[in-house]
């Protein structure tokens, strides 16, 4: 072999040795103040998902600072250890194990996508740690180590579909979504509800996640004969979808888009004129007309120093779940994951959007379904709302009902799933 290669390998060995010498610095962190309760905050600060996750991160930190301003929990301040998930499940997995195992935080506020939650789940389950997850998701999960504070399908659809059929009078659905689990599960629950309420679905089509080329799909919708579009499109694709829809000459009056994911963020980005007249079903809207919510929006805008910042459903959940957590810690009287989890069950809080409660059986959250119609000013006008919160049913697509929950304190009753 030649001289160069030999030297190269020799040098690399030297680098390796240097790495070993530096190890004590690399592998040990300086001790922190003992009196603070440390919690993990793990959302994407970089990469494509930082669009939304940055706002969840901000809402979490704002809640923590508000709690600290009132004296913290158990007389101790709450200290956030912020990590970046970098929009990549591999990174989420690694950072979660860092927070749980190395930093030994008792709870982590984390994750936006299901893919990232699934990637961190083994870490929490093995360590009996606690994850608080603020996003609406597809359900079908029953973990003792996760509290879910976003909506599950029955809280977004069980009011929406009957309302579309009965109040809007639209009966022929074109279901469209991004190609992954959540939209496909939403489509499944929707079809059950559509058929139950005497409507029919004409098509069930998907576009690659993140794709924003809607020409063909919108053309299909136009020629399908449907009189309503049920959209489970997520992320940046939403903007392109609504724009293409209007630009191909369709009107929201004749063929309204009824969405389960389109939030204030996407509306602001697409330009409100494209969405005006369309509908979204969410438990929270920025336009909820209560003093508590208005004050919340003001505080959030001041916190992020952006007078035009918008609040949305996942953001509100990211905010109130910190308070639910703080109440649970206060009740448990110790900052350990299992006692916090046990105390979290049944915890209630007056969130900006109304009262929320953690269901003791499945650690999901009671939320109030609402439907809003988007206005030309970019705000949702609430056209229909439940009077009281609705019980979360993560297995509704498989026949779960309020009286016969599948997921209980004992875990998932898999016998019921077969059917």
């Amino acid at each position: 072999m030649n001289m160069t290669t030999r030297m190269m390998t020799r040098r690399t060995a030297l680098i390796g040795a240097a790495g070993a010498l530096a190890a004590p610095y690399f592998f040990h962190r300086p001790a922190r103040a003992a009196d603070a309760i440390k919690v993990g905050v793990l959302f994407s600060q970089t990469g494509g998902l930082s669009i939304i996750e940055k706002s969840l991160n901000d809402a979490t930190l704002m809640a923590i600072s508000e709690i600290n301003a009132k004296g913290g929990v158990l007389g101790r301040p709450v200290q956030a250890v912020v990590e970046d998930g970098a929009s990549d499940p591999k990174t989420f997995n690694e950072k979660a194990s860092k927070l749980v195992i190395q930093d030994k935080v008792p709870s982590v506020f984390a994750c936006y996508t299901s893919a990232s939650r699934k990637a961190v789940l083994p870490v929490f389950e093995r360590r009996q740690s606690l994850l608080l997850y603020p996003t609406y998701y597809e359900g079908f999960e029953c973990s003792k180590n996760v509290a879910y504070t976003g909506a599950v399908p029955n809280q977004q659809l069980s009011n929406f579909i009957p309302w579309i059929i009965n109040t809007l009078g639209k009966k022929k659905f074109f279901i469209v979504g991004s190609n992954y689990i959540y939209p496909r599960e939403m489509a499944k629950v929707s079809k059950i509800l559509i058929e139950k309420n005497g409507g029919q679905w004409i098509a069930d089509e998907y576009l690659e996640l993140g794709d924003s080329e809607w020409g063909s799909m919108v053309n299909k919708i136009k020629n399908s004969g449907a009189d309503v579009v049920l959209s489970n499109v997520v992320g940046d694709s939403v903007v392109a979808f609504y724009r293409e829809f209007k630009n191909q000459g369709m009107s929201q009056d004749k063929l309204p888009i009824c969405a389960t994911v389109t939030s204030e963020i996407e509306i602001a980005a697409m330009g409100p004129e494209y969405a005006a007249g369309s509908f979204t079903s969410f438990p929270y809207f920025m336009a909820i007309d209560t003093d508590a919510n208005k004050a919340f929006v003001e505080r959030y805008r001041a916190y992020v120093k952006n007078p035009k910042a918008v609040t949305h459903h996942a953001l509100e959940s990211a905010y109130f779940q910190v308070f639910l957590w703080a109440q649970a810690v206060a009740q448990a009287k110790e900052a350990q994951p299992v006692p916090i989890r046990n105390a979290l069950a049944g915890q209630e809080f007056a969130a900006p959007g109304g009262t929320v409660k953690i269901e003791p059986q499945n650690l999901h959250t009671w939320l109030t379904p609402r439907i809003a119609q988007w206005q030309p000013d970019g705000q949702g006008k609430i056209v229909d709302a439940y009077k009281t919160p609705v019980m979360p049913l993560p297995y509704v697509a498989y026949g779960e009902t309020e009286s016969a929950p599948f997921c209980t304190g004992k875990g998932l009753d898999t016998a019921r799933l077969k059917g």
Partner: protein, 380 residues
């Protein structure tokens, strides 16, 4: 010069010794984290072999990593407590219920179209075998067509890039069989010969470190064989090698497949230490990123590329966990990439070798050869 070869092996021995001793100083979290990074080191070896020695820059190495990962994950999913009918002879992954054909029996044979493909994966050895075989098979097939047609350079890169994106698309779309975008999660631990490979236990670390050590030694020996030397001749001048009568595509396909096998093993081990498989393994950015690791470490050196991958990931982990850099760490990494390509074209390993050359030639003038070689031994 026998002394030099000894030295070279000493460098490998030092690195292998280092990774084998690491558990003595590493606590639980870093043990698991370094195990993940050693998996990336395996990827570095795979890339250096195909790029540095065969001159084939594969921008779709993530394809082989992903295939290996999915094969392993399928076996572990069936062994997971979350699978339906767990413990019986017919476990079924929970997500298959989501896309079950109406009225289908809850059984791998027929719960949905394609679920029967999972049946043999109940035996973990089948998953392990497939984790190597499938990448090798794919690499051989595509390599056979490409290299017979004398496609080279950037065109190979683009074919592999398009291929990895195509496979990623199909994996996400085939949700009933692959669980789509969420990937395969909630996995059980791998049990081999009665030993459970818990990702946070030392035994798992040693499986990964052992695989890396083995891969380093085997590839090092491989490139020194006659076939390895012919391969390097092909890299340097394909036509001349062809005129000398060598079956050029045969050698290229062989090393391409070996590189794929190593990446497949890396994918399998990643699933063992991280407990999930995801279509993001086949993202374009991951495939490019791993090439950059190898470039930073030194594309022409198996050990250099391996250390490059491990080193960048340690830097990345430290930078992104420095609270002041949480938002900016990516810029730091981007800057390192640019600077290394501009100023250290042969990577850190190349730079280091030049520096060592300069020092040694100075020493060599002053001392007799015997003393020099003793000096070198001490230094390495």
């Amino acid at each position: 010069m026998p002394g030099k070869r000894t030295l070279d092996y000493a460098a490998y021995a030092a690195f292998i010794g280092l990774i084998l001793c690491a558990p003595l100083v590493l606590e639980e979290f870093w043990l698991n984290r370094i195990a993940k990074f050693l998996v990336y080191g395996l990827l570095g070896v795979a890339i250096a072999l195909s790029w540095g020695y065969a001159g084939i820059l594969n921008l779709g190495q993530g394809l082989f990593f992903g295939l290996g990962a999915y094969m392993m994950a399928m076996s572990l999913k069936l062994a997971s407590p979350t699978s339906l009918q767990q413990g019986s002879a017919t476990p079924v992954p929970d997500f298959m219920l989501w896309n079950a054909e109406p009225g289908a029996k809850t059984d791998l044979c027929c719960i949905n179209h394609g679920s029967f493909l999972w049946t043999p994966f109940q035996n973990p050895w089948f998953g392990i075998a497939m984790g190597v075989l499938v990448p090798v098979l794919v690499a051989t097939l595509i390599g056979w067509v490409m290299f017979r047609k004398r496609i080279s350079g950037v065109f190979v890169s683009i074919i592999m890039l398009a291929l990895v994106l195509l496979v990623r698309l199909v994996v996400i779309d085939a949700q009933p069989v692959t669980n789509g975008f969420n990937g395969l999660t909630d996995l059980g631990n791998l049990v081999v010969f009665g030993v459970e490979l818990d990702p946070y236990e030392v035994v798992t670390y040693y499986v990964v470190a052992g695989a890396l050590a083995l891969a380093l030694i085997a590839t090092r020996m491989l490139v020194e064989t006659r076939a390895g030397l012919i391969l390097q001749a092909i890299r340097d001048d394909q036509n001349r090698a062809r005129y000398l009568g060598f079956d050029v595509p045969l050698y290229q396909v062989f090393f391409f497949a070996v590189s794929a096998a190593i990446a497949g093993v890396a994918g399998m081990l990643y699933v063992v230490v991280a407990q999930f498989a995801s279509p993001t393994f086949m993202d374009l950015s991951f495939s490019i990123t791993m090439v950059v690791w190898a470039a930073v470490g030194g594309r022409a050196s198996l050990l250099g590329a391996c250390i490059g991958a491990i080193g960048i990931n340690i830097i990345e982990a430290r930078a992104s966990e420095t609270q002041a850099l949480v938002q900016a760490w990516r810029a730091v990494i981007g800057l390192i990439f640019v600077l290394v390509v501009l100023y250290l074209p042969r990577g850190v390993a190349g730079f280091a070798s030049d520096a060592a050359d300069a020092v040694l030639s100075r020493l060599g003038r002053k001392r007799p050869p015997a003393a020099q070689s003793a000096e070198e031994r001490v230094a390495s």
